[in-house]
Symmetry: C3
Subunit: 151 residues, 3 copies
């Protein structure tokens, strides 16, 4: 598999696993040392470091998923990620891709939840790409409800 296909496959898995609520498999997409950060693009463009979410090691990310499972029983919804064509640099070890997430609630109403841009740095582990850094630039600072599920 060439690097471009590997990147597309990783992104496809990333979105599909969140949407299927398979969070352990989603965690397995990350490298042992990893970082997951959600920042409004407005802050990022101005060089303001405040993140909405920052997990700068794997334990924090695992903890977040555990909290999601055990604590967040309200605001029940399902996600749907549509991830656009990726733009690949650095021989495939860095890439960015735009995304939109829709959420569907228990009444069956589907709403636009968030749009933004993924900026990933990956590393090759065995024959797989693993996510080393995931920076999620959100187009809006005003996300319309809780950031429970990962983006």
């Amino acid at each position: 598999m060439n690097r471009s296909c590997a990147v597309s496959e990783l992104l496809a898995e990333y979105g599909a696993l969140i949407d299927a609520a398979k969070f352990d498999e989603w965690l397995a997409l990350f490298a042992d040392e990893c970082r997951y950060e959600v920042v409004p693009r407005e802050n990022f463009d101005r060089g303001l470091p405040a993140a909405l979410i920052l997990c700068d090691n794997r334990a924090m990310l695992e903890d977040r998923i555990r909290a999601l499972r055990e604590a967040n029983k309200y605001n029940i919804h399902t996600d749907r990620h549509i991830i656009g064509l990726p733009r690949i640099c650095d021989g495939g070890l860095r890439f960015e891709a735009p995304f939109v997430v829709y959420q569907t609630d228990q009444e069956g109403e589907t709403r636009l939840f968030a749009t933004g841009l993924y900026r990933d740095r990956v590393e090759v582990v065995g024959h797989r790409l693993k996510i080393r850094d995931k920076l999620i630039l959100l187009d809006s600072f005003a996300v319309p409800s809780l950031l429970a599920n990962p983006l």
Copy 2:
């Protein structure tokens, strides 16, 4: 063409042909023996077999398209499918891909129509992939208007 490109191409054609209302060419994407099924994901996840639409052979699918042409003259709209990056398994003979469909009515208003996940099984016919089974998992059981056009 490698299998991953062939899958992307098939999905791109699938959406484009519906959006262009080229339903005969759309039908030609299916194998002689085929199945087309639309199920709310909620039902599917609970193992409930009730489908919103089930065409379990090609004649049913052709019939549906004929009905669409001859009977559905109201609710005139155009579709736009955005299909996300596919996740490929089984050497490219099975894949899934998230999708969103927008509809634009005659007043020029564009609305989110549906989001969901395609799960396809394909077979190789000559040098083309043909759809053997198409399972469409809809995120909402409450589709906001008639399911006239195929998803």
Copy 3:
């Protein structure tokens, strides 16, 4: 890089550069002789030639970008393009791809802005694809605000 990957990469860059407001780099995606046209699909399907925007040479396109920079200071927003899987013909020198654009305003509200279809003709310049003709078929004739940024 095969032609299919090159097309995907070009489309990804196209959307990313608009969304990042890097309009000079966006201009550099076009060939020296080029055409950029926005037409409601309804007009196009009926053979009506009226375009919402027509730049039939590069100077016009550059002029449009200059106007955008100098004059359009109101209606401040950011764009997010999600471009679907491309459908490639003619050995990769022509392709089409569906798109959706979201806009986020200064209050942080993200709205669906437009959906449609790109139809591109490209040429090979050095080892890059450059856009020769870009036809943008908009699903709605009623775009909800000014067509300031390129689509």
